[in-house]
Subunit: 420 residues, 2 copies
């Protein structure tokens, strides 16, 4: 006996249950009941039974065979918005918390390098007992860890400092994504090299044409950071650092060095270009705040969101909440521009330093309004209003914008960036 | 100021830190230290620093631009093993618990239909108050739920009843995968139609050329089943039921009807082909056991596994454990053919009716041996030995094989199916 014998049905054979016509008639004459359901605000009456109007009925022709590596359905065209230096995740069209690897945001400083995994090496040197290099085969043999984590560019929503610049949630919040990351703890690899007592900072360098480098305070990351070789089950995608990426849970994406080839331990920050000319926050008094690593408590409604259209009646408000400090403990939704707040449902599992999906059932009465979300993390950090954030930080920053985001809904149900 | 101004470096510009040569020399003369590390059994000494031997150094040429929808790195060729009717997930090469959608196993009864999501309808009829159809737009508007769940074909490992047939874990355990599924609870949709009091069974029918149908006991699934439109964040893949799939957590994959177009409520099972000619278990006394829905407690070591090769020294044993009854509470590993067992580490989050990744650090001394895993779920169900399973079930079944799996390691480190 073999389960996998061919067992294709003759396409001309009638359906297993010969009731299609009866059921179709029942359904066609069921208009009164459907009106009842429609009155509940949930249903749009559908006039075509399954397959009606298809040029080829899918039940009448054998389908295609299994394949080695699947692709999306024809007609599914959700995509990142790419520019020369970055691309944005289409959160308005995504569900759950996992971002498909193909849609994970990108931010490159000199493009995506093409790296041969077999030849790639990680060098560890500086204030260590034994300078070492590791091949990918070496790293995969170490004890491994898997964590589902968000990565957010510190420039995510950055244009919102100046005003309601982004039209869609992809434009305002597309520089963040969540994946299941697998790799070896940084601490394990550093222990092999032996950390000298005076090593306080670590330089991390990528193998791209920007030789992207950041200085990182060792004590604050060494117990949490991972050198990752896998994303959502398979090898990292090229644009996410293939074959190896430093992932520091909760820290700004820029510190999660892609294509990582070198770690150097030292006594002071190395003052690279990416922490002098960029990745600092200009404060109201004109000073520049450096080394703001942890991404703050933040949330956004992904649906309904800018560019979408809603109808009166039931609307499930869906969004994402996250914090670089730890777990989200509460997400709230306002449907009256912040006058009143309702606790949203958090989808389990709620994981630290990871996107948390929240949902809130709402009945829209057709009036113009503004919808917002805010969240609180396990450290008690609450997402601020825009007014509070601007009062503290001014409007000259580009990075680390994390204020409450507003979507305006007009009387036609059109949703736009409603920054207030 | 704009974060995303072009900021490409001149490729002829020297590296930020001009120490490459020094460090390379330090590393090249660090052989003694590396021998020390190698003696710890963890390192294969690497003779090439990063980029050495590359025809084009990735740091010396600008990389490619961001893209709308990413693809794998060149050279990453892990794939499903496809036949005419199914394809197998390559668990030996995967990490964490999420199976990339492109590598989710397939099992079709007449191929993968091509369905237009806009025209697809779900019909609910039979013993309901109001026969209804739903478009995909209708379904997406309902309150939604996301769960990370395994789906396992009841034929997974089925050939192992007869003996050690599969060479690799892809062949022995490739008919299972885990995704993050999002959809609307079945109970929500059935409540719209109104379940009549005498409705006890539900017929679920797919829109493929097999018009795949199963009878399902309503009370046992109505609070847990989902009508799913999203997998790992994006729309279902065609081979996973695009645009709509019934997902019943923990039940045999065959009941998770793909391309679902019809639900009919009735008073008795509908006795379709897929529960008479197939998907029954032939018992030792010659009788056939029907309607075994829940997939039992099971685990397998995915690495090292059949076809792989290990070296003496540290080896991290990695595997998956799962149960259709609920959460895994313990996974154990034996490295002496089942004489002694060690508790493995479970990777958080441990979710009900979902793959759980386990790991166990082992030092292989180079002797021939057999490695095994077994698991226990929250209901107290323990994965049986092959001998115990065969004693209870005989060897005439094809479905629901869930015995402890053995991998034999020979003195050269080669791993083969070691069924004992």
């Amino acid at each position: 006996m073999n389960l996998f014998d061919e067992e294709r049905r003759n396409p001309s054979e009638p359906d297993t249950e010969k009731e299609t016509w009866v059921d179709r008639r029942t359904w066609l004459t069921g208009a009164v009941s459907m009106v009842g359901a429609t009155a509940a605000g949930l249903l749009t009456p559908a006039l075509l039974p399954a397959e009606e109007g298809e040029s080829v009925r899918p039940t009448h022709v054998p389908g295609r065979s299994p394949s080695p590596y699947g692709v999306r359905a024809q007609g599914e065209t959700v995509q990142r918005l790419p520019t020369a230096t970055h691309s944005l995740t289409p959160h308005h069209a995504l569900h759950g918390i996992i971002t498909p690897s193909a849609l994970h945001f990108e931010r490159h400083h000199n493009g995506v390098p093409s790296i041969n995994s077999d030849r790639h090496r990680l060098l560890i040197h500086g204030l260590v007992d034994r300078p070492l290099t590791f091949s990918m085969n070496d790293l995969v043999r170490f004890p491994s860890v898997t964590r589902t984590l968000f990565i957010e560019c510190s420039g995510n929503s950055g244009k919102e400092w100046k005003g309601p610049t982004g039209t869609t949630v992809q434009e305002t919040h597309g520089l963040m994504s969540t994946s299941e990351w697998t790799g070896v703890p940084l601490s394990t690899v550093l222990a092999e090299a032996g950390i000298k007592p005076d090593a306080v900072w670590m330089l991390a360098e990528g193998s791209d044409a920007a030789a992207m480098t950041r200085s990182l305070p060792l004590a604050e990351l060494v117990n949490d950071a991972l050198l990752c070789y896998a994303q959502n089950g398979e090898a990292l995608r090229p644009e996410q650092g293939y074959p190896l990426r430093l992932v520091i849970p909760g820290w700004e994406g820029n510190t999660c060095i892609k294509w990582i080839r070198r770690l150097k331990l030292g006594t002071a920050p190395f003052m690279t270009r990416e922490e002098t000319s960029r990745y600092t926050d200009l404060m109201p008094d004109g000073t520049a705040k450096q080394f703001t690593f942890v991404m703050d408590t933040k949330s956004v409604i992904t649906s309904p969101s800018g560019g979408q259209q809603i109808d009166p009646g039931f609307v499930e408000i869906r969004g994402l909440a996250w914090s670089g400090h730890g777990k989200i403990v509460m997400a709230e939704v306002s449907t009256d521009g912040g006058k009143s707040w309702h606790t949203a449902q958090l989808q389990e599992p709620v994981l630290p330093k990871c996107h948390t999906r929240f949902r809130f059932g709402w009945r829209w009465n057709g009036d113009e309004t503004i919808i917002q979300s805010r969240c609180t993390d396990e450290t008690g950090s609450i997402q601020p209003t825009r007014a509070a954030l601007v009062a503290a930080r001014g409007v000259h920053s580009f990075y680390h914008y994390h204020a409450i985001h507003s979507w305006r809904i007009d009387r036609r149900g059109a949703v736009t960036n409603g920054q207030v």
